[in-house]
Symmetry: C2
Subunit: 402 residues, 2 copies
Amino acid sequence: MSGLNNDNEGNGDNEEFVVTPWEVRGKIDYDMLVERFGTQRVDDSLLGMIESRVGELHLQLRRGIVYSHRDFDLILKRFDEGEKFALYTGRGPSGGVHLGHMLPWFFTKWLQDNFDADLYFQMTDDEKFLFNPDLTLEDTQKFSLDNALDVMAVGLNPKKTFIMIDTRCSRTLYNLGIKFSKHVTFSTAKAVFGFKNSDNIGMIFFPTIQAMPCFLPSLVEGKNVPVLIPASIDQDPYWRVTRDVAPKIGFYKPSQLHGKLLPGLSASGKMSASQPETAIFTKDSPEEARKKIWRAFTGGRVTIEEQRKYGANPDICAVFAYYYFLFEEDDEALKERERRCKTGDLLCGDCKNDLIERIVKFLREHQKKREKMKDILDQVLIDDSFFDSRIKSAAERGFPDG
Amino acid sequence: MSGLNNDNEGNGDNEEFVVTPWEVRGKIDYDMLVERFGTQRVDDSLLGMIESRVGELHLQLRRGIVYSHRDFDLILKRFDEGEKFALYTGRGPSGGVHLGHMLPWFFTKWLQDNFDADLYFQMTDDEKFLFNPDLTLEDTQKFSLDNALDVMAVGLNPKKTFIMIDTRCSRTLYNLGIKFSKHVTFSTAKAVFGFKNSDNIGMIFFPTIQAMPCFLPSLVEGKNVPVLIPASIDQDPYWRVTRDVAPKIGFYKPSQLHGKLLPGLSASGKMSASQPETAIFTKDSPEEARKKIWRAFTGGRVTIEEQRKYGANPDICAVFAYYYFLFEEDDEALKERERRCKTGDLLCGDCKNDLIERIVKFLREHQKKREKMKDILDQVLIDDSFFDSRIKSAAERGFPDG
């Protein structure tokens, strides 16, 4: 399956591309990102280490979708020595959830299940308010509650999942945050995040808030807890700064597993909420989903005759990418689909119809689960009082001492 | 008494001086500050307006110590129309309290008593931690509790005084704060506060936190409440930014009454905690206070004979300044002391001994009151839960709507 070279992957030339926490543009060269960000490859040796512990590999690991990391080997080493890790991932609640947002959550659930890990899930309602001139804080708070239903519908363990909407936890976040921000100069923030003088001072402080869940599990447990962040690679700048500061304030550096971004349904770019026609949202009706898939960019030929004769190109096909990333669990079946595509045996119309069927089935089930999650939301949403009681007792046990 | 030209007042030349919230250096030209900061003079007409309402003028108003303002006339106009104002002042808890810190608090008590005003008193433990490399957050939190005793010992009404230690209220401060900071660019913060690229991102965000008590009374009351800030003029940069942003987020601009800084006991500069020998601290023993006054800089002559013959100069005398700012309530008695000084009738030793007696008496009484305040501290210290209950009910009454 190494042949997949979808439209978000580099093609060897040096076209400009931008990957920051706030902007993803151009054809992403994921190999180049590993060098640019200074991360490590998820290689066969690391995959072997995971498989030997879990007994299997998640689709996103098998297919190189989760392809880069920082110190995940250290996480496994500590795990073997009896130090359980906590998971941390999150969502910027600026609107509805689409499949691109959910991609890392499916993988996070797999990690939670297989490593019996607590998950701290951050909803950055403050960030989305500060960075988006058109959103009010009330908007982003409303989206937070809505999006939390999608998060939980993935099947996360409600007893081990803690959803933090930032503005409900901001005493905890700010009070620990200032200890962190004391070690981050404007120069550093500017260099890493590209802040401009015209950016507002809330934005400039915000990386502090996003760093905090890397340390909160340690405060809650009253001892240093390793933290693993499964997230798309565009979030990496946050963790570079966080890893620099962590030892200065007495914590472990957080580790990361970086995923690729789910391609959009158009010819280029990731799935994006700002281009709704290129993304499948969790609340889309079957009809909306059908229309979007039907209009998707494929690797097909101009005429059926040509396609029967020369075959199509799955490497640039948005529809094939959806099978690859999400909707074909079976590696053999995926290979077979690729073969039939390339030989002209499978036509785009049929392939799209198959996908529509699978996506509509997924949406129907997800939408039902989403509704059910309303009953458990109160159980998983935490606020300052959660930390007040736990951090106090951690302090009594003597951590942190700084 | 217009003749007082103590060592903190300009002498007409253009010597360099610096007045920022974090640094006061050189001979302060208070007239020039009015121009530099763009504030208004407290003139006879304004004094008349105050006197006609209160029936008297506080020493600091009579003597031009509180000498500058922004929109205090508007505060009085609204007061006449039935809109009561709230007071807001504060303290950066970086160590013990000295008389220079207390100067605005005495005046604040007078305002509270005479205008029946709620007082929000902010203890910026976060600021002092962020701006001082040598202080831990635990240090500044400890100082906050200690300093609060000095604040209350001034005689503030515990039923109308709300002391906010920032880290106890940081959910409230942050959640309202981000609405404010969205309107403050790094350019603005840099221009107003002189931030450098090497400053940390907590410092850069901090002006947000200091602005919040200007708006919190409105949230608590569920309607726009005028806020008056009695404080030393070095804090003015905060209010310039706050006044710009206030209408953009639906609040009144806060008004200010600016005070001069209490001179130190040495030849130049304000009383400063970083030069403890130049300041009388509230915890000083009688012996420590005696020594400091005894060594104070005066306007005396080199010999007793010369002084008897030519008189001394109260305008440059630190000892006379203490009578002027704090320890001689009676204007006639102050004039008489000035006359006797200038004519050589009163020698510095006698004048110092008088002051020592008054200061020692003050310290003894203050230290007793301070102890008693431990019993009411819980009553005046507020935290996020105070705002949670009140702001919620304000929201039910429909304010703010933005």
